[in-house]
């Protein structure tokens, strides 16, 4: 890893940390469970790393590990988003609940 790559990665990390703090401290306790499953789904983006590992044919071990990693990350992405949507649909305003 070259110095420039590392520095730019550190920049991204620091700014993301700052932004994350700002954005997430605004989430009300009401939505903390959906928040957790949403961030879980989002961090399933490690899928993009797994995909390359599974498809690049570096060696058999890497392909197997990559395949398992793809399964795990995809489960998180799909499961996480589906369940977050399902939860968020339940949070209704008073008027909407009465109509049901």
């Amino acid at each position: 890893m070259s110095a420039e790559t590392l520095i730019s990665a550190l920049y991204v990390f620091a700014l993301a940390a700052f932004l994350g703090y700002q954005v997430i401290s605004r989430v009300p306790p009401l939505l903390h469970t959906p928040l957790m499953s949403a961030t879980n789904a989002i961090s399933g983006i490690s899928l993009v790393g797994s995909i390359v590992t599974a498809g690049a044919r570096y060696n058999t071990v890497s392909t197997i590990l990559g395949f398992i990693a793809v399964v795990c990350s995809t489960t998180n992405v799909v499961g996480g988003f589906v369940i977050t949507d399902r939860m968020l649909k339940m949070f209704k305003r008073k008027e909407l609940v009465k109509k049901d």
């Binding site: 009401l30 939505l31 961090s43 490690s46 790393g49 060696n59 990693a69 339940m90």
Partner: protein
């Protein structure tokens, strides 16, 4: 050209992820936000599929298919009461994926990575990934009831854990300085897997929300470290967001229990050591009749429900809402007081009640509801214990002294729905149960609430 396409898709994904989380600040904007995040994810995946290093799609497509089926099944069928277990499992999956990618990278270069910084990042990735995997699996087993949920402790536990951690970090440092040893690397990975179990073992029951948040944080940081190893910015961003979200949640949870992170991690709360404190309770608990309570509720002006983990275990969320419905029909004002650490993960109670069609405007946070108890006629505590324990406020010697509580004992009357006469998960006596204002209703919460609905209708 191809690189631009990939990087651009990652940039868009990062922006959509941030917008998605920003939407989470309100229930009305959250759904749209999530759709943006989902779109961002799709972009990133499509972008990755054209990566020049990919030569075969067989395993990728197979993995995507299997993962989608498992994820969809879990997403659609897991009941809301099992949400803590599901979340623990997904932390394990995410962390395991990160660990595997790290191991594969190490193996691919035969341990001779490009420079020490790379090895440091990879070490963090693999260690955090490994310990979060086993830690989350143990948390899952505890929540699912596969193993006992209470803390498991033994003499010298903290010293042993620290020693193990020191050895693991020692190997890590050695690998950075003298790279290339496969056996040492795999020893380090193995030790990290073991350490995950040891870390979660002594933490149990009521401390679960903190553990869940911490594991969330670790899983996110493992992803961020993967981003450093692969020089992939969207991974760094998404992992950091996840890591910080978990970190903020664990701080909020600790604050809601007035305890420090070290105390939660190494204190093994709820073990025999703390049981002696508090002393003997004088007086006796007063058991009350269902009919009396029904009458009280029916003629009240304001009723506040205070749910705890017992609500989830009894699956009583729908029964509460039915009771609230019949009360509201009679003109009673009904509110719900939610303690931040009620349940087994942050926001657990809110989701359960939302599932039962309780509008979110009726759910009140601790600071909002506490001033209202003095004007409350009946406070109904359902399967909650420590979060309503007045000792936290009145007794400086109590192990939970200083923990913010829902002050139900300020209302005109308190009804406690409880499974049996036993103590709560913390093993502490709860003076609330002995107060003259308090009446106890024993039995399964769901069953009791259903019978209360009928009794109120006839009142």
């Amino acid at each position: 050209m191809q690189t631009y396409f990939i990087e651009l898709s990652y940039l868009l994904a990062s922006i959509f992820f941030i917008l998605g989380l920003k939407g989470m600040s309100h229930p009305e904007t959250a759904k749209r936000g999530m759709h943006l995040a989902e779109f961002g994810m799709l972009m990133a995946i499509i972008g990755t599929l054209v990566h020049h290093e990919i030569v075969t799609y067989t395993w990728i497509l197979a993995g995507l298919a299997v993962g989608s089926v498992v994820g969809l099944a879990m997403g659609l069928w897991v009941p809301m009461t099992a949400m803590p277990q599901r979340t623990a499992l997904s932390h394990a999956f995410g962390a395991f994926a990160a660990a595997l990618v790290g191991i594969s990278e190490f193996y691919r270069y035969g341990g001779h990575l490009e420079g020490r910084i790379m090895m440091s990042a990879l070490g963090f990735e693999v260690m955090l990934g490994a310990l979060t995997t086993t830690g989350s699996l143990l948390a899952f087993a505890k929540l699912q009831g596969l193993v006992r949920g209470t803390p498991m402790t033994y003499k010298g536990q903290n010293i042993f854990n620290m020693a193990l951690l020191a050895v693991t970090i020692g190997i890590f440092v050695y690998l950075i300085v003298v790279p290339g040893s496969m056996p040492l690397f795999f020893t380090m990975v193995g030790l990290a897997f073991v350490f995950g179990l040891l870390l979660v073992m002594p933490i149990g029951s009521a401390d679960m929300p903190v553990v869940m948040s911490l594991l969330n944080s670790y899983a996110g940081l493992a992803s961020a470290a993967t981003g450093f190893v692969l020089s992939n910015k969207v991974l760094i961003i998404a992992g950091t967001l996840d890591g910080f979200s978990g970190f903020i949640l664990s701080i909020l949870m600790c604050r809601a229990m007035n305890r420090s992170m070290t105390n939660v991690l190494f204190g093994a709360f709820g073990s025999a050591a703390t049981a002696a404190a508090g002393g003997e309770q004088q007086g006796s608990m007063r058991e009350v009749g269902l009919e009396d309570i029904a009458t009280q509720l029916a003629y009240a002006n304001k009723v506040v429900f205070v749910p705890g983990y017992g609500l989830a275990t009894a699956q009583a969320q729908h029964a509460v809402r039915e009771l609230a419905d019949v009360l509201e029909k009679r003109g009673v004002t009904v509110k719900y007081g939610i303690h931040p650490v009620a349940g087994r993960m942050p926001g657990h109670m809110n989701v359960l009640l939302a599932e039962a069609n309780v509008p979110y405007s009726s759910l009140y946070e601790l600071e909002q509801i506490n001033p209202e108890f003095s004007s409350t006629d009946v406070a109904v505590v359902i399967g909650a214990n420590d979060v309503v324990n007045p000792d936290a406020r009145d007794n400086p010697g109590s192990p939970i002294a200083g923990m913010p509580i829902l002050e139900v004992d300020r209302s005109k009357s308190v009804v406690v729905l409880k499974r049996g006469q036993g103590k709560g998960f913390s093993g502490l006596e709860n003076p609330l149960f002995f107060k003259p204002v308090t009446g106890m209703l024993y039995g399964d919460a769901k069953d009791t609430l259903t019978r209360l609905v009928q009794a109120v209708q006839h009142a």
